[in-house]
Amino acid sequence: MSGTGGTGGTGGTGGAGPSGLSEGAALVQAELEHGLSELHPVQFDVESELADGALRAIAWSYTARPREGQSFLGVQLSTEFVLRGVTLIRTGPDDGVLLRWYIDWLDALNRAGLNAALRPVPDGPQPDLADLLALLR
């Protein structure tokens, strides 16, 4: 299922909207487009969608390309790429619609040409600034 339709409502998240996407999927698409405004949307695809009562899970892929002069994740990119993730949507009578985002940022980093080949600092507790300042005396 794919499309680039508009934002879904915030009441229910299960019904299909005018774009052919479910309201939940349309909400995810709209959040991505607004939340990642440095990207120009190309295509939004729903790969699977599950519902269990008030909880809905949507696995999606979002194809986008950086807008001219803007960077994504701090990197100047020029070609379109695909972002993948799963979004949980919870609908409650009191707190409305809430979302929880699990996005494969590591894959996005790889596609941006970045990786984790950096030098870490030692793990565990950090040095104490007061102890270090004492070394200056």
Binding site: R119, P127, L129
Partner: protein
């Protein structure tokens, strides 16, 4: 803490290599120009004791470089060497260092690439070597300049840029730290007033680079309109003021009067 606790270093090993080159650049050049010889042949041929670090002499140091930097496996007789020290990079580190040092010595001697060195050379400039870890791939850089009005005076600087080897860097220039314990050896100094001796290496930075980890973006339920932006890693905050430090030689620093030798160089 083993490894390279500062981001840039010379230390006992590069100081040793530097001295070998500066003592007999022609001999080093001839060795490096011979494709049948490993780069480390010059360390083995001019065996010198090293009173510092885990390798007792240049032959042991050569084994470390062959194994870890160059990926040379004595038991493997076919296929290219695979550098196993570097994360997310495979390539001919030995070839890059060979070409870098060959070019550097040729510049130091004032001769063209591959030119004959059996006769006198126009000059004999001093060669210095430094290495810095973390760029994406292995590169050697050479910088040079004549010093003074006479062509005989000059200096060549080699900077070896390496990919990460994954060993942590201390978030402070000061010593000791919880993970680099013990008294720092010479020529360690904090905010030195004078450049002692004929050579040196100082680092200038914040007293402490405090690490602040981002909140995981998937950790919370958020309302529409609150899309969680990702962080690519911790942010470091330089705190405590600026400090000038002469690192100990054992951690990459430079002794003001050079390395004391415990063995013959040739």
């Amino acid at each position: 803490m083993p490894g390279m606790p500062y981001n840039l270093e010379r230390g006992p090993y590069l100081a040793m290599l530097e001295d070998l080159i500066n003592r007999d650049p022609v001999r080093c050049l001839e060795s490096l120009r011979d494709p049948a010889k490993p780069v480390t042949a010059l360390l083995r041929e001019m065996r010198v004791s090293i009173n510092g670090g885990p390798y007792k002499d240049t032959a042991e140091l050569a084994e470390h470089i062959d194994r870890d930097w160059f990926g040379i496996r004595p038991d493997a007789h076919d296929g290219p060497p695979i550098s196993r020290y570097w994360s997310y990079w495979d390539g001919d580190a030995q070839g890059i260092i060979r070409e870098t040092v060959v070019r550097s010595i040729e510049i130091a001697l004032g001769i063209d690439h591959d030119a004959d060195v059996s006769g006198p050379t126009p000059h004999r400039w001093h060669v210095s070597i430094l290495t810095a870890c973390t760029v994406r791939w292995f590169e050697g850089w050479v910088s040079w300049r004549r010093v003074g009005p006479e062509v005989a005076g000059g200096h060549v600087v080699i900077l070896l840029l390496t990919p990460t080897h994954g060993k942590p860097a201390e978030p402070t220039l000061l010593r000791p730290t919880p993970t680099t314990k013990g008294r720092p050896g010479p020529p360690y100094a904090i905010n030195p007033a004078r450049a002692e001796g004929d050579q040196g290496l100082w680092a200038i930075g914040a007293v402490f680079e405090r690490r602040e980890d981002p909140v995981p973006v998937s950790a919370e339920w958020v309302a529409p309109g609150s899309f969680p932006r990702p962080h690519l890693g911790p942010t470091y905050f330089g705190e405590g003021g600026i400090v000038v430090v002469a690192p100990p030689e054992s951690q990459g620093g430079v002794l003001p009067d050079g390395r004391p030798y415990a063995g013959a160089a040739s």
